[in-house]
């Protein structure tokens, strides 16, 4: 069979007649913008190959291939290629077929033996590839930067061309399994990612420098300061038995491991901090001590936090940026470093109760949709279940609302009644009753959720509305499968909103789970927030078949910093310590805004 003809026909069916494969080599400092070094592009049909070095790239006023609706650029992790387009001031391709994304969707939930890199994909399909060592050596050469000898230039271009040759092998092999219209939709998101990565998140560099300067001296003092309220540390060692005593003394039922020991992982602390605010500071402290590597926070010389957003890396299809390089990592207090530059404002726009709304709309459960539309779905749930009276409010039935909120969230995360009991500090029987009330109140949701699991187990895959599939592997987890339609469609919604906003020219600094952080001149911020909220509403209607989710916005105009109540106390304590240290005259560590990765 003529595979090339198959590829051409597939594209022709969606009006695309020019097919180019391309790969850039580029370097970038942590937090910095990409600096293209060379480009190799191949016209798949004519077979011509273009090899442009850095000076060719700078001279050109556009790429050697078309970027209009009748052309497609085939890439492997295309946000990098679009990032180079943006760096060069070139137009962004209308159509991108990203084979990384398509390989991910094809193997999502399974474990391709060599991972999802280009070499992994080639190995998966039994196609020839260069060795890992050669690839790594060339990557390091690109990162090293100029000046390059003529031999090094030739080696880099030649290496770049091996990736294009790999794309030429991979494309016809993968094409029969590619759902092209939706694949192009997924490719469109890669452009949005490139734009968001380019914008980056503005941070207070002066404060980051001080934080880094003193960070080595901070943890010990921070422990002393925060542990005054807990008394669980011995030196810098967290003592399990003391934590048990503290939780028991504060009547906080803590989740336990099968061994009977308390679960002290980050997720348990995060969950418990949501239910018991008095735990929040300890959660922040532990996250900072164990996971915060300030040197890795990727901030460029222009004071923007930038890192690879790692689109489509999570099973749900969500982005999975490095927790240490991205400012929206686990240490919430660190987010208070974010501040818009003078004359600008940041706006954090998030969907309200996004997951509840998705579950309601996609299951078509009328009671659940009614609850979402009430504005307070958790209280509405309590009223619908007959536990709170009509007219109940957050003030009159706050405790009931909290329990029903925990129950609704537990359902979303596939939590059993034992864990729910721990989270709400009630008996197992009480938790069982709450979950039973959920089943009775929202029977259509449960029938849909059961059907989703059945569908996955019967057909081997479960798609979102735009075809992001999770495949059922040998170690399939029914809980994850059941959760996929809500999480995966949440990811679809955020991708659509990212596309709509970035294509309008809105400066999106970062996508964050169910939110977008955008930036605008102060005098235009209201307008930009309104446009962002409209884009998010449109995205929700498209994903949910017409059902609209609400969003809310918090605006932080310079000189106000971004704030998050969960991190405010910790932030204040860290700065108390820094001021003490600065006044003490101790010798600080060498500051660095941007550190090269080792």
């Amino acid at each position: 069979m003529n595979l090339m003809g198959l590829v051409r026909n597939a594209f022709a069916a969606v009006g695309i007649v020019k097919i180019w494969l391309a790969d850039f080599e580029f370097r970038s400092e942590p937090g910095g913008l990409p600096e293209p070094i060379c480009l190799v592009a191949r016209d798949l049909i004519a077979g011509d190959t273009v090899r442009w070095w850095e000076d060719d790239l700078r001279r050109a006023d556009g790429p050697p291939y078309g970027t209009g609706a009748d052309s497609v650029l085939v890439t492997y992790y295309g946000s990098a290629e679009v990032g180079c387009h943006l760096a060069l001031g070139w137009p962004v391709p209308t159509n991108i077929l990203d084979l990384f994304t398509e390989f991910r969707v094809r193997t999502n939930g399974l474990r391709p033996p060599d991972g999802a890199s280009l070499l992994g994909a080639l190995a998966f399909f039994g196609l020839p590839a260069i060795g890992w060592e050669q690839k790594e050596a060339m990557r390091m050469l690109a990162l090293r930067g100029a000046p390059y000898t003529p031999e090094e230039r030739a080696a880099l271009v030649s290496y770049c061309e091996t990736d294009v040759t790999a794309l030429a092998e991979l494309l016809p092999t993968m094409m029969p399994g590619i759902d092209l219209p939706r694949a192009l939709h997924r490719g469109r998101y890669m452009s949005a990612v490139a734009r968001m990565e380019r914008t980056g998140v503005p941070v207070r560099v002066d404060e980051l420098v001080r934080l880094r300067r003193w960070w080595d001296a901070i943890p010990e003092r921070l422990i002393r300061k925060i542990d005054q309220s807990y008394g669980v540390y011995e030196g810098s060692t967290f003592k399990r038995e003391r934590w048990r005593s503290w939780t028991e003394a504060h009547n906080i039922p803590w989740p336990e491991l099968p061994s009977g020991l308390q679960a002290l992982d980050a997720d348990s602390f995060r969950d418990m901090a949501q239910m018991h605010p008095e735990v929040a500071e300890m959660k922040e402290l532990r996250a900072s001590l164990s996971q915060l590597r300030l040197a890795d926070l990727a901030v460029g010389v222009d004071g923007r936090n930038r890192c690879m957003l790692s689109a489509y890396r999570a099973k749900t299809g969500r982005n999975q940026p490095s927790t240490s390089e991205f400012i929206f990592g686990p240490a919430v207090w660190l987010r208070m470093l974010m501040m818009a530059p003078p004359g600008y404002a940041l706006a954090y726009v998030d969907w309200e109760q996004q997951e509840f709304g998705i579950a309601a709309a996609l299951s078509g459960d009328p009671a659940m949709m009614f609850a979402y539309n009430s504005g307070d779905p958790y209280l509405a749930f309590a009223i619908q279940a007959g536990v709170a009276p009509e007219g109940a409010t957050k003030n009159t039935h706050g405790e009931v609302r909290e329990q029903f909120k925990a129950c609704a969230l537990a359902v979303q995360y596939g939590m059993g009644y034992e864990n729910l009991a721990v989270r709400i500090g009630q008996s197992v029987a009480h938790a069982r009753r709450l979950l039973d009330l959920h089943r009775r109140t929202y029977p259509k949701f449960w029938a849909w959720s059961d059907a989703a699991l059945d569908y996955a187990m019967l057909t081997g895959a479960l798609p979102t509305v735009y075809g992001w599939e999770i495949h059922v592997g040998g170690d399939a987890n029914p809980r994850s499968l059941r959760n996929h339609p809500v999480q995966g469609n949440g990811a679809e919604m955020l991708r659509l909103a990212s596309i709509f906003t970035t294509e309008q020219g809105i400066e999106v600094c970062a996508p964050v789970h169910d939110a977008l952080l955008v930036m605008a001149p102060i005098e235009r911020v209201d307008q930009v927030v309104a446009a962002t909220q409209k884009a998010m509403a449109d995205a929700s209607k498209l994903v949910l078949g017409g059902f609209e989710l609400r969003s809310e916005a918090k605006v932080f105009a310079h000189p106000d910093r971004f704030t998050d109540p969960r991190g405010e106390s910790m932030w204040a304590k860290v700065w108390e310590i820094i001021e003490e240290l600065e006044q003490s005259g101790d010798v600080a560590q060498t500051p660095a805004v941007s550190r090269k990765k080792e």
Partner: protein, 220 residues
């Protein structure tokens, strides 16, 4: 900048036809059509690309009822009686905690042992289908308070959710109606014959040689 020659837009007939995955057919066609009529409306295209999330319609499963107990309501259980299915009169005989049913022609040979009962299709709030075995008045037309109150409760359960609770001092069941807007039950799509067939599967006395009758006669 060097401009590369543009590739030919047409394909030759010798090349294989691309066969898109079945679920992309519609979207492919619409996209191609839309493209011919200039730029398609983005909302329309994105709406067309939606994959249905109605998993039950695509490849779901349905519950098959294989067991229908014949019993009285459990303590604390709220229930409804089917509003249109006529209860079925059967003669019952309990042997080692199992309820057997017999035809009238058999039952007539065992007066006092075979108890006539009405089997009313009933469903609990948890969705469990069962046949509520209700006593009917004896030949003298009399019925005790326990049985009368159960019958009264079953009558109410046709319209509202009820639970019954034995009150020993009273010598009858007390009936509690649910207050509040509890939705009506979803009945399985089974006929009365099918329900009874499932309920009495393997426990029908249709011959005088049935082992249970042999045991009753002291023959086994």
């Amino acid at each position: 900048m060097t401009k590369k020659s543009e590739p030919a837009a047409t394909t030759t007939t010798a090349e294989p036809e691309f066969q898109p995955r079945p679920d992309t057919h519609e979207a492919n066609n619409i996209l191609a059509e839309a493209d011919m009529n200039k730029k398609p409306d983005e909302t329309d295209v994105l709406t067309l690309l939606r994959v249905s999330q109605d998993f039950a319609a695509k490849a779901g499963s349905k519950k098959v009822i294989t067991t229908v107990p014949i019993r009285n309501p459990k303590r604390g259980e709220f229930l409804r009686v089917h509003p249109t299915m006529e209860p079925m009169l059967v003669y019952t005989l309990v042997d080692e905690q199992e309820t057997f049913v017999a035809t009238a022609s058999i039952a007539i040979n065992f007066p006092g042992d075979m108890i006539p009962k009405l089997l009313a299709p009933t469903i609990s709030r948890q969705g469990t289908l069962f046949l509520w075995a209700l006593r009917i008045p004896g030949e003298d037309g009399r019925i005790n308070n326990w049985h009368a109150s159960a019958k009264e409760a079953a009558g109410r359960a046709v319209r509202v959710w009820v639970r019954v609770q034995a009150n020993m001092a009273l010598g009858a069941y007390e009936v509690y109606e649910a207050v509040g807007a509890i939705p009506d039950p979803e009945w399985p799509s089974l006929s009365m014959d099918e329900i009874v067939r499932i309920a009495v599967k393997g426990r029908v006395i249709d011959s005088l040689d049935h082992p249970v009758l042999q045991k009753l006669r002291g023959e086994v």
